[in-house]
């Protein structure tokens, strides 16, 4: 049902007729075939295989609840950024400034909390900064007609620089007692499991519902697919693209706020890894680099795979030097799989 935008012209809610026809042509076992036809099935299977392999190799430590508390909190912070990046990739755009946005927005929040402003107000300012950064990215990209890769590479440097100017590079720490809001954002729920996990999954579900069930959601696919067709179909292309940038900016800032809740401190260097990891997670989860395809389920699974690699390799007794090499292999293998499966499902286009 994610292919609706590729057919080009229908801004109607997803769930298209093509799928029904194919299922009936294949006869019975509709559920099994529908499962196999889902873009995410392959990558979920990869995730399950990795989980099983790590669990076997780690002698029962990898699949412990305690370890998954750690994995899910790392995944949640990357995952919230990835939701926005995936949404943007579906719309055919990139955001390389999410890491800088993450650090800058959360640093302003941390400084405000440290200076005894109400934490709620600090969070609102943080999200507003994120939205503002996204808006600038979107407007510059759309109005000046610059590739978003370049726009956001520029704003990545810009906001990294501004962050260093504001903080002098120092880490901002919020010493205990921790304000309640920070615990709500990233505090411990039980054992090592943190509230971040709920924020991540809740946001992914919400954005997923918007993408799959609303007209606006369909616009994101449409502008990322055949843009000329989207224009003909009356999709407000410019507005949709800017909206995607703003959403991505807000989500990056929120991820920063969540990590501030988790760690109690923030610095200019904390977000630096996210821009590339979020793109990697989106791509592993099935987002097409050129837009028009992808899903929130894929973004969640892609993030989870990256997040469990680190811990899985360590607990299996493998040197962490392998982590980046394995990420590289999985990234390329996943894209190869998505491309192949995509072609097979659509009958070789």
């Amino acid at each position: 049902m994610l292919d609706v935008a590729n057919t080009g012209t229908s801004p109607a809610p997803a769930g298209g007729a093509g799928g029904t026809a194919r299922t009936s042509r294949l006869g019975g076992n509709a559920l099994v075939f529908r499962l196999l036809r889902q873009r995410e099935t392959g990558i979920i299977a990869v995730g399950i295989v990795l989980f099983v392999v790590f669990s076997l190799l780690s002698n029962g430590t990898f699949d412990s609840v305690q370890n998954w508390g750690g994995i899910t909190s790392a995944a949640a912070e990357l995952g919230i950024v990835t939701i926005g990046v995936a949404l943007l990739m579906i719309s055919g755009e990139f955001d390389l400034s999410v890491g800088a946005n993450f650090s800058f927005s959360a640093l302003v929040m941390a400084i405000m909390v440290q200076d005894h402003y109400p934490p709620g107000a600090a969070l609102v300012v943080c999200l507003a900064i994120g939205a503002g950064i996204g808006l600038v990215n979107g407007v510059v990209t759309v109005v000046l007609d610059i590739p978003s890769f370049i726009t956001t590479l520029g704003t990545f440097f810009l906001w990294t620089g501004v962050t260093l100017i504001v903080t002098g590079g120092e880490t901002v720490t919020i010493l205990p007692p921790t304000p309640t809001l920070l615990n709500v954002l990233g505090g411990v729920l039980s054992g090592q499991v943190r509230s971040e996990l709920l924020w991540w999954l809740g946001l992914a579900l919400a954005v997923g519902v918007v993408l799959q069930r609303t007209v606006t959601g369909n616009w994101f696919f449409a502008v990322g697919g055949k843009r000329s067709a989207a224009v003909e179909a009356g999709v407000p292309v410019a507005r949709t693209r800017v909206l995607a940038f703003v959403a991505c900016g807000v989500l990056a800032a929120f991820a920063g706020a969540v990590q501030l809740g988790h760690l109690g401190s923030m610095s200019a260097s904390f977000g630096t890894t996210y821009q590339l990891e979020a793109i990697a997670a989106s791509v592993v989860g099935g987002c097409a680099l050129m837009g028009g395809r992808g899903s929130m389920l894929g973004a969640v699974v892609g993030t989870l795979i990256l997040a469990m690699l680190d811990s899985g390799l360590i607990l299996s007794g493998v040197s962490p030097y392998w982590y980046e090499a394995v990420v590289g292999v999985i990234l390329v293998a996943a894209v190869a799989m998505h491309t192949r499966v995509g072609r097979l499902v659509r009958g070789g286009d």
């Binding site: 002698n59 430590t61 720490t173 760690l263 109690g264």
Partner: protein, 354 residues
């Protein structure tokens, strides 16, 4: 990775017949079957799995650090831990963040949480932030896993607290190292009140360097010197160009101090670019800094003996696990290395890889 199998149909690109369709479903069904079989195997073995990691094997210790794999400071630390493990006949798993995660505190906290989940006989870790490691350290304490901190402690004093519980700190007191760096500069370069001194900070977000800087400021304050801090980055060529630009606009500097090996490289390269000649006092030691001292480019460096930090951490954890000995804090520095004593220290330096 069996699920990638559909790739095998590469050659069938133009075929549109039923064989092709049957093939693709068969491939994916096979992939699912493999997954299901693996899952079944896992479930069967999970019940048999032991509750403790690597039961019956040697004692296992985790050694967690924020060291970038590309930073030459760290291999001696890791060598020290590995050597101790070899001599004691225990397993030491050395965990460090990846090169793309340099500077990410969250990444190191994640490693520490993974190490705790493995319930090893002991953990040595750096703590680079006053609050970020708190929850993980408390969990380790609650689970009865002995933790010693090396290299970077959450406070300048190196003392544990209710927020950051651990057993001992093995490393340099950064504040006193900073004081030593400044006092040696006053002695060595004959600095007096009002002298123009620059301190290059290549990792402004690192709490250890901030503590060193505080020590430098305090020692200089006592003699009436107010140093200027120039912030650079871990990127040596970028840092060198910042230093070079600064030197070209500030020609009359009495001395330049650095807070680590990366900063030292930046200052020496920046100085060469600017064509300046400066009195340099450095901190930490790697092969480049050593050669700078031998060649008289750098007057002295404050060494924290990183090899000992790795080695003693494992020894202390081992004695705690086997003999019940309580780990104690050890100051591995500051040790001053100058052109006078560089030859006598050369043997240790060569053996340890610093």
């Amino acid at each position: 990775m069996q699920v990638v199998r559909p790739v095998r149909y590469r050659g069938d690109g133009d075929e549109r017949g039923p064989r092709r369709r049957r093939g693709k479903w068969a491939a994916r069904l096979a992939a699912l079957a493999v997954t299901a079989a693996a899952a079944g195997g896992y479930l069967a073995s999970a019940s048999a799995a032991s509750a403790s990691p690597r039961a019956g094997g040697p004692l296992t210790f985790y050694f967690v650090s924020h060291g970038c794999p590309t930073d030459p400071f760290w291999p001696p630390v890791w060598n020290g831990a590995a050597d101790a493990g070899k001599r004691l006949g225990v397993r030491v798993d050395i965990l460090h963040i990846t090169s793309s995660e340099c500077g990410s505190t969250a990444a190191e906290v994640n490693l520490l949480e993974t190490a705790i989940a493995a319930h090893p006989a002991g953990i040595a870790t750096t703590v680079t932030d006053p609050t970020a490691f708190s929850s993980a350290l408390k969990t380790a304490a609650k689970d009865g896993i002995p933790v010693v901190v090396f290299n970077s402690a959450p406070t300048a004093s190196g003392q544990p607290s209710a927020t950051n519980p651990f057993l001992a700190y093995i490393g340099q007191q950064n504040y006193s190292a900073g004081q030593g760096l400044a006092q040696e500069a006053v002695r060595e370069f004959g600095l007096s009140k009002g002298a123009a001194v620059v301190v290059v900070d290549h990792e402004p977000t690192n709490i250890s360097l901030t503590q060193r800087l505080e020590g430098v400021r305090a020692a200089f304050r006592a003699v009436g010197i107010k140093p200027t801090v120039v912030n650079t980055s871990d990127d040596i060529s970028q840092g060198a160009s910042i230093v070079s630009a600064y030197l070209q606009s500030h020609k009359k500097l009495a001395a330049v101090l650095t807070l680590g090996t990366t900063g030292t490289d930046e200052v020496v390269q920046g100085m060469n670019t600017a064509g300046a000649h400066l009195k340099i006092g450095a901190m930490d030691l790697d092969s480049t800094t050593l050669s700078y001292i031998e060649r008289g480019i750098v007057a002295y460096t404050v060494d924290q003996q990183p090899y000992l930090q790795g080695y003693f951490s494992i020894v202390e954890l081992y004695l705690d696990a086997t003999e019940g000995a309580a780990p104690v804090s050890i100051a591995t520095g500051p040790v001053f290395l100058t052109s006078q004593n560089v030859k006598t220290l050369a043997k240790y330096v060569n053996h340890t890889g610093f």
